[in-house]
Each structure stands twice: as structure tokens, then as C-alpha cells.
């Protein structure tokens, strides 16, 4: 019998002290102190708490800890150590796509989820790809342009 729920967090095997029904969001923020994952609504509407679970984008406020046993979870803290992140970050910077920044960690992971599935998306595919992530600041244009640019400049990475 293991003493907790284990999963891979940003490449490392971890065991959580949380209960099976706890929100992954709370576990990440409170137990593992990964505060780059933001809480905007706790009802799966805003996408600020997006993480990658086995490469797929998920709202961590809607994920029960018990459902991710042995899965691979990537948060912005882990993703920001990658080359792909650097390409996205440079592209976001080029368009000043980061305003208040609160949606941005989730938005960057949504960008990754999109590009890893579709390395050369057109504009409407990008808009659809980030449509689960609300941004109240930018009107989305800068983010869309940043993803387009990352897709061009990061050729081969995705």
C-alpha cells in the first residue's frame, strides 16, 4: 500500500498527501507551491489553471487528484524550462501579448497543446485552440499573432 497518490510532476515522480477528490489545482498550488497555475473561477470556464496532463490541456480545477495516478502533469514551472517555451515567450514578447499576465501561464500551455497537435495552425485554428482560455486584457490579437510567429520561428520544435 502506498501512502499517497503518485504522479509525475514536471518530470519528477511525486507522491501527494492529498485526498482522491481534491482539486489538482489546489494540490499544485498549496502542496507543491506551484503558484504559476492560477485560479480564476473554479468552474472550468476561464482556463487560468490550465496544465498539461499526458500532453493534453486540462483545467486543473476540474481534475480530481485521484484521476491522475501515474499521469504526467506539466505546469508552467516545468514547461518554462523547455526550448519550446523560449520560442513562445519571445513571440509573446514581440507582440506585448502579456498584459496583466494572469491568464498567460494557462495561455502558454494552451499554445503548446495546440502546436504539439498542429505545428502550423491557421488563424482560425489558433483562435479555436485558445478559446477555452479567457483573456480580458488583450482582445486576443496579440496572442494569436504570437502563436503564429512561434509556429514559424520554432520550425522543427513542434
Amino acid at each position: 500500500m502506498s501512502n499517497g497518490i503518485s504522479f509525475i510532476l514536471n518530470g519528477e515522480k511525486v507522491v501527494s498527501k492529498g485526498k482522491s477528490g481534491d482539486r489538482l489545482l489546489d494540490i499544485l498550488r498549496d502542496e507543491f507551491n506551484l503558484t504559476g497555475t492560477k485560479c480564476g473561477c473554479k468552474e472550468g470556464e476561464c482556463g487560468a489553471c490550465s496544465v498539461l496532463i499526458d500532453g493534453k490541456l486540462a483545467n486543473s480545477c476540474m481534475v480530481a487528484l485521484g484521476s491522475i495516478v501515474d499521469s504526467e502533469v506539466v505546469t508552467i514551472e516545468g514547461y518554462s524550462r523547455t526550448k519550446r517555451f523560449q520560442v513562445l515567450s519571445d513571440a509573446y514578447a514581440e507582440f506585448s501579448a502579456v498584459q496583466c499576465g494572469f491568464c498567460i501561464p494557462g495561455m502558454v500551455l494552451a499554445s503548446e497543446a495546440l502546436l504539439s497537435k498542429n505545428p502550423h495552425p491557421n488563424e482560425s485554428e489558433i483562435r479555436e485552440g485558445i478559446s477555452g482560455n479567457l483573456c480580458r486584457c488583450t482582445g486576443y490579437n496579440a496572442i494569436v499573432h504570437a502563436i503564429q510567429t512561434a509556429s514559424e520561428k520554432g520550425a522543427g520544435l513542434w
Partner: protein
Amino acid sequence: MDSITNSIKKRDHDPKISGRAKYVDDLRFEGMLYGKILRSTIACGIIKGIHIPDLPSGYTIVDKNDVPGVNFVHVVDDDTPVFSDGTVNYVGEPILMVVGEDQKVLKQILSEIIVDYEEAEPVLDMMKSETVFYHYGYTKGNPEKAFREADKIIDETFHTGYQEHVYMEVQGMIGFYENGKSIVRGSMQCPYYVHTAVKKVMGAQTDQEVEVIQEEMGGAFGGKEDYPSILGSQVAVAAKKVGRPVKCVLEREEDIICTSKRHPATMRYRAAIKDNRVAAIQADVVYNCGAYTTLSPVVLQRGLIGATGVYTFDNIRVEGKGVKTNTTPNGAFRGFGGPQTFFAIEMFMNHLAKEVGSDPLPFKRSYLSKQGDITATNGKYHFYIPMPEMLEKILKASDYEQKYESYKRQTGRYRKGIGLSMVYHGCGFTGSGERDMIKGVVKLHKNVNNTVEILTAGTDMGQGLKTTFSKIVAKRLEIPIDQIIIRNPDTDRVPNSGPTAASRSLMVVGRLLDKAALKLKECWVDEEEQEITERYVHPDFVIPWDLNTFQGDAYPDNAWSVNVVEVEVDTLTAVSKVIGAWGVYDVGTPIDMAIIQGQMQGGFLQGIGYGSIELMDVNEKGIIRNNTLSDYIIPTAMDVPHLETDVVNFPYIEGPFGGKGAGELPAVGGAPAYVSAMESALGKNLYKTPFSQEDAMKILEEIKK
């Protein structure tokens, strides 16, 4: 393009995109407890008794009896209680706070507290309110005579609804009490507003007994102008009582229920028509303030000043009331009272055009204000108004004229429509506020290593202030931007440069920084510590403003915009979609093009949301029905797939490097452009915002009859 306009990487880009930036909910301190607030579940009544369960050890109740100073939060007036004084005036009004270590236990305690109320009938309809908080009016020319001599009088009423900010980061504050000093840190636009409020609430005798620190802010849009003074006061009181730091971060639903929103408005407009020209306009405006006054007087003033829009009429009568209802107090939201009246006048002008057999654009054009014209409040438009250049750009980009003409004769299930709005936003504080109330002060502190720190109370809520302020100072000093230091403000370290509001930061505070930088440059000594202080001076050209008569220059200058929205409506289902949106803006010289574009695009989309899908209402019990992000809908990346913005560059002489107010402008014109487009598609006059799918369905059913 001016070199300052060239974009640079935003100074807060790296910490924010990597998730390293700490927002208030990310902060933890030694011994920190949490606070959760018990809120009224009724809209109007008296509290007869509060039954509190036995509290576990380490849990504390904080209420009005714990307030060391006055139990009122200073905003403009002082009527907002910190905690209920025994009456409740809206659903969501704070009664008490439970403080302790475990948030789940706090929620459990809240659910077990029973409040006995003696309920009274709430006033929910602003038109039935008998409590008038504020009443203003002004006259230009002789409107009475013009109405007497009119060929006909057109009389219409317009309605605008709530708008919720939906900053992605909910409101949150942490209070501390250490060695007789109250410290408050959190998400806020205006540290010195919080400072003033907390000082009164804590009964502090000196400014040094209160310190307010801004943390990274996840959006605000006006929503964190007044409310942080309330939450900041509450956590300050709690921290003093328990002697430990107390953090209170709202839940999203709680945030929607109890924090300020854009004032709903009912606006009756009358026009005296003589020889097919508008001889006079009369506007009677009512703004729903909610239960307490908060920022309503200033919001209402701005709405009334803009009541006749971008047009010059010889005869005007404007009257406005801000009334009390038993609903959440409304406050600042990007545009600050302007979007309501600008919506009304833009729609009214569309309708008047049809009355005299014209189309909206040529009709509106013939009344456009020009440099030298007398404003509605008998001030003067001192500067060139670049509407002709802006119109030329937008008409070309959107193909408005050709489309408007062709959409007049449509048949078939899918119909297109196109609408245009022209608006302004007065830059800076209304009237003489900058001179008489704010009296902004900034400092530049040069260190021995030749770095220069910018010291202002300005907060970066995403609008890019850290970057634009740094650019202004670096450019004036001719030093690399890396040599400039700018941090989140702490009232112990920064002078009071005024609130981050009213589209004033870049134009007013940025100008002070520019002047300070010039002085520092003149006396610069390498490797020596130096400090420059710069104080606000009112521009000479301004015609003094009199609030009692509403006469004079309401603003030193305005920022202008033209907006076009194109829609397609499915006449079978009433589903409509935006197929294009174009905005052209006059914000002086852009201090950073990518930042300005981001401001314009984000604000424009908020404005289109206000006009279309952002619906909020209150049920018969006074409860907000749309209190989650599932029920209150804001635009996603798919809602306006084609949105184009552009600027014209006419430098403002009193602004830093020619820049002027920009932040609020783009949120003003979106709703009237959208609803005008719906008018064009449906072929019917429309009178309200948001104009929802259900509203379109009603119109389509009327047409079928």
C-alpha cells in the same frame, strides 16, 4: 514613427509569462490566517440577531465592534460600512469576517451561522427610487426657446445594463498589524486611496501608522479602484484583532456578487428639430448607484459631460441623477460613466438622421466638433480634433459606406449590418481635480551606481505602465532602459502621484516624470546619489471648471475614436456574429505601439461584449442572477475573429513625448457600433445594450407580424 513609439519587450514580461510573478493569492507569510466574509442574503432589512456556533480553537469573529476608528470606508463620501452596522442594503453586504487557519473550516463555520433578519421591501428599479444621492445639471444656449420653436420634437429612451469587469484575478488583500502599524498588501489600482481609507478605519493619527503595498495585479479595468479600500479596511481590522497576518481572497462568485460594476442607466433624450436640423438636445439621465455612493458622483459627472457626444450643438440641457437601489454599489469601469451616455447619443443620432431623411454618417459628420468650438459645458476644444483623418482611415479599412448602402436592401435568411460610432474620452480627472484634489507628486532617485528609480504610486494592472514610464525616463535621460528601476508601489517609499485611473497615468504622471528626468539630466553627476521631486502644475490654457454650474473645461484634452462593427444575423434563429470590427484612435503620440495596440484591441473587445453578450441582471429578491463565469459571458478568441485597430499621431503638447490618455477610450465606442450594426441588419431602431440574441429574436418576431 517617433522612436519612442517603437515597441520594446515589456519590463514585466519574463516574470509573468514564466509564472514566477506573485499575485496576492500566491503569497504566504509566517503565521498567516485566512478570512472569509459572511454576507447578507437579503437586499434590505435589519439584523435582529446573529447566532454563531461554538468556534473551534484558533477561530475568531471580526465585526463592526472591532473597528478601532470609524466603521465607514472613505471613497468620495463616507457612507460605505466596513462591516454592517445592523442594517443591510444589498445582497452581498459584509456583516462579519471569520478568521482562522483552515479555509474549509471557515466555510463550514460560515454555513452554520444563522442571521435573523427583519426584511424590508427592497428598491430594485432605479426609476422607482426616491433616494437621490447626486443631482447635477447644466445648460448651454437657450434650449427652452429651441424646443418652443421646434418643427418637431423627437423623444426616445435608452437603456444600458450592468457590465462586470471579469478581471481574471479576483480581488484579494492581506492585512498585517505590527508594532502599532497597519500594513495592507494586495491587488489594487490606487494605494493611496487604500491608505486614506485604512487610516480612518484604524483610527490612525499619522500617515506612518499605515503602509499600503501593491502586489502584481491580474487586471482591474476600474474594478480595483474603490473596492480595495473596502477589503483593505476589513483585513486591517482583522489583522489587528488577531495579531497575525490575515489574507482574504474572494471566490469568483463572491467577487461578482459584491464588487462594483458599470452603472446601469436609463436615459431619455429629446431633440428639437427645426428646418431638418437639430436645434437643441435635452438629456435626462438616471444612473443606478446601488446601495452606497462609492465613486458614483464622479462617474455620473463624466457621463453628463459626455451626454451630447462628439457633436457641437448650440442649445443643450443635460440633467442627471444618481439614485440609490438595494443592489451592489456600482463604481468605476473603463470609460467611467461615458459608455452609457455615448451609447445613447450615438443611437439617438442614428435615429435623428432617419427622421430628417439622412443616413447616420453624413448626418453625424455635419455636427462634429472642431478645434475652437464651444463644448457642451461652455469650455473650449483647444486642440485639433483629428476626426477627418480618422474617418478617412476607418472608411477605407472597413468599406463602411459601400456596405451600409448595400445592406439597406437585403432579402433572404442571412442579413448583414454595419454600424459606426464616434466617441471621445476626456483625459485625466474631471474638472480641476488634478489641481485641487490629486496634486500629484513624483520622484526620481538616482543611485550611486547610476541606476535611476522611478517613485510614483502608479500601478501596473497590465496596461504597461512599468514599461512606458521607464521608456519616458530613459529616453529623456538618454540612458539604457536597464538602468531604470521601477517596482510595485509601497506608500512608505513612493510619493502620492495620484490614483491609477481616469486615463491619467501616462499623460499626467508620465509628464511629471518627463519633467523630473529633464531636471535630473541637467544636474546629473556620475556616481552620486541624487533625488528630484516634481509636482503637478495645471496647464495655463484651461478654462477653470466649476462643479456647481458644470461650466468650463471638463478636461484639458480628449482622446478620440471612431469604431465600425459589421455583423451577420441569421433571421431564422436570431443568432448573430461579428464578422469585422475596426477602430481608429487618437491617443497623441503612442509611447509604445504594441502596448497601445493591445490596449485598443482589448478595450474594443470589452466594448463589443458590453453591446452584445455581457448580460447581467438582478432577480426580484435583489440577487444577481449571473454570478458565475458560466452565466456571465465574456468574449473568447472566437467571438470577434477579425478586429483591426489603428492610430493617428497628433502629439499632445502637455503630454510626455506627445502622449495622452488612452486606457479607457477603446471601451467607449464598441457597444454603439455593435448595436448600430444590428440596426442596420434588422432595419429597426434599437434602444438598449446589451442587445442580446433574445432581443434580436423579439425584433424579428415583431417584423414577421
